[in-house]
């Protein structure tokens, strides 16, 4: 009987999945919060990052040497 119960125990991955699944299912306030988190992350990464916050040096130069030259030029040309 004990051996049968042990064999029926789900593996760790399944238990972790169920832990999170049950946790999310039984949320009340948390559901609204998750919705806010998802909307916020969407705005941050799909709107701000993609359209407004490109990496300035990455976008203009291919190599680190070019970036260094540009920054030295900018910093010392006063």
């Amino acid at each position: 009987m004990r051996q049968e119960m042990e064999t029926k125990k789900p593996n760790l991955a399944v238990r972790i999945f169920r832990f999170y699944y049950d946790g999310f299912r039984s949320m009340t306030v948390g559901r609204k919060l998750w919705l806010i988190i998802l909307i916020k992350l969407f705005i941050m990464f799909a709107v701000f990052r993609l359209f407004f916050f490109r990496d300035f040096l990455e976008e203009r130069f291919d190599t680190d040497e070019q970036k260094s030259d540009y920054v030295i030029e900018t910093l010392t040309n006063f």
Partner: protein, 521 residues
């Protein structure tokens, strides 16, 4: 290029960064403080087995969860801004910023994100002790996450442990431990997290006061107040201690900020500490914007004692730092500009002759590795930008530094009194009769946020014009992008952040009004 720089670009970029950082900082201190209060409450539950403490812990955990959820990832926007708006700065700081921020990301992910799920979902599913361990690890993880960003910030105020590579124009970390354990980093970390503990405690006391005013959840409110007041009182006293150490750091590494905090124009031995005061407008024709006090209450010798642990010690004023003071070994601005210009010209020449004069190139390169030259010239690199400029441009906005410092200190002292009173009446079970005090405690919540923000205003506005102390002025750090783009994102952030703040406050108020419920997540 710097000469042709549109200063409105600098102002908008600074405004945007300030908006984002201040918004982010609305959430962080409550996470830092409340996480430990949860851990204390749950420890009492596990020790006593009393279900009351489980219910109480779960209620405050919900408040913690709301704050955490709305605030999470708002700091990432700051990293976006580094790459887009502050590219010169991002390049110049090199791996000094990269390493701590990477560690922060990993720590935040593994410690907070993993154990926070156990903390919220694990009641009755994992063992009591494992759940308690998870709550403690969330508190420790949240505070350790803060460590790394504060270390990076402290480096900007006091750059140490690095070597400037003139071939790449990047600072390279040569001593991780010096960066991590510099006196300014340690004090900044301890002062900042203890301010978060104080804020967390005041939020718990304030919300509990509301319940007592409404004559609801009285046992939970009273017991929560006692836990929060003990934690808050110890944190508040520690905050004073770390504030004192931080002041000494500022006097040593950022003497101009220190003089501005006290509106000290003429340096003095037996310098007094201004307890309270009001400044007049700038004196006409003063040249350096000197301001007289309309009134002030001061304690003689205390400022000197704070800095030197000797009331007879000399504290340089703003004018000494501009004009120099040979008697007390204070370099003049003119001398610093001259030394910085030498370093800047060496960097420019190094780049110009890279492919044409190898002998001169090696000679110049060697200078940047020569400790004496670095100490006497490169250390003042940023002053090279102020050649020919009005000396007033190296002075921070004195009223902002003065008022933010004094407001923070005054409120910090007031909070300690609130904790003492809460503890005294809480232990004697007399809190119900002190309705006037409960109202004060409730309204102390916004004051805690104001004090916390004032601390950052002092830290960041007080160190102007520097983004990296003595090495890089703020105007040299910005990317040459369109001002309009920065304006658009400023307003986008303002709208998004306002919406998020409204969402948080409405959810939190609703949660507080509905009170603790069994099984809520």
């Amino acid at each position: 290029m710097i000469e042709n720089l549109d200063m409105s670009l600098v102002d908008w970029s600074r405004g945007q960064f300030a908006l984002t950082a201040m918004f982010h900082w609305l959430f962080v201190p409550l996470t830092l403080g409340l996480s430990f209060i949860l851990a204390f409450m749950e420890t009492i539950y596990v020790k006593t087995g009393d279900e009351f403490w489980k219910r109480t812990t779960k209620f405050w955990m919900t408040i913690f969860g709301i704050n955490f959820a709305i605030g999470v990832a708002t700091g990432i926007i700051l990293e976006f801004e580094f790459g887009t708006n502050w590219s010169n700065y991002s390049w110049f700081v090199g791996d000094i910023f990269g390493a701590p921020l990477a560690i922060e990301g990993i720590m935040a992910f593994f410690l907070e994100s993993t154990f926070i799920a156990v903390m919220f979902f694990g009641w009755n599913k994992v063992g009591k002790k494992f759940h308690l361990l998870s709550t403690w690890l969330v508190a420790i993880g949240a505070n350790l996450s803060a460590l790394w960003i504060l270390v990076a910030n402290a480096w900007m105020q006091n750059p140490v442990g690095m070597f400037f590579n003139p071939e790449t124009a990047r600072n390279e970390m040569v001593n991780f431990w010096e960066v991590l354990f510099s006196q300014s980093a340690v004090n900044k970390f301890l002062h900042t997290i203890s301010s978060g503990f104080v804020l967390g405690a005041l939020v718990v006391i304030g919300i509990s006061s509301w319940y007592l005013l409404k004559r609801r959840e009285q046992l939970m409110a009273k017991r929560s107040m006692i836990v929060a007041s003990v934690f808050g009182l110890l944190s508040g006293l520690f905050l004073i201690f770390t504030g004192d150490s931080s002041a000494r750091d500022i006097a040593r590494d950022q003497p101009m900020k220190f003089a501005a905090m006290e509106a000290l124009y003429e340096g003095k031995t037996r310098a007094p500490l201004v307890l309270a005061g009001a400044l007049r407008g700038e004196e006409a024709g003063s040249g350096l914007g000197e301001r007289e006090f309309l009134f002030r209450i001061e304690v003689p010798g205390v400022l000197s004692y704070m800095v030197h642990l000797d009331p007879a010690g000399f504290v340089p004023g703003i004018l000494d730092l501009v004009r120099g003071n040979e008697e007390h070994g204070v370099l003049s601005l003119e001398e610093k500009i001259s030394r910085g210009t030498v370093a800047m010209e060496a960097l420019r020449e190094l780049k110009d002759i890279r492919d044409t004069d190898s002998e001169r190139y090696s000679e110049l390169l060697a200078r940047f590795s020569d400790e004496e030259w670095v100490e006497n010239h490169f250390r003042y690199f940023g002053y090279g930008y102020f050649r020919g400029k009005d000396p007033a441009t190296v002075i921070p906005h004195v009223p902002i530094a003065f008022y933010s410092f004094h407001l923070m200190v005054f409120l910090g002292g007031f909070f300690v009194l609130v904790f003492l009173a809460t503890l005294y009446w809480g232990i004697r079970d007399q809190m119900d009769n002190k309705r006037w005090f409960l109202r004060i405690a409730l309204w102390t919540i916004p004051l805690a946020y104001i004090a916390s923000q004032a601390g950052w205003v002092l830290s960041e506005m007080g160190r102007q014009p520097w983004v990296i102390q003595d090495l890089m002025p703020t105007f040299a750090a910005v990317s040459r992008i369109d001002t309009e783009t920065v304006q658009i994102t400023f307003w986008l952030f303002a709208v998004t952040f306002t919406a998020l703040l409204i969402a948080e406050l409405s959810i939190m108020f609703k949660q507080v009004k509905s009170g603790p419920k069994e099984g809520e997540k």
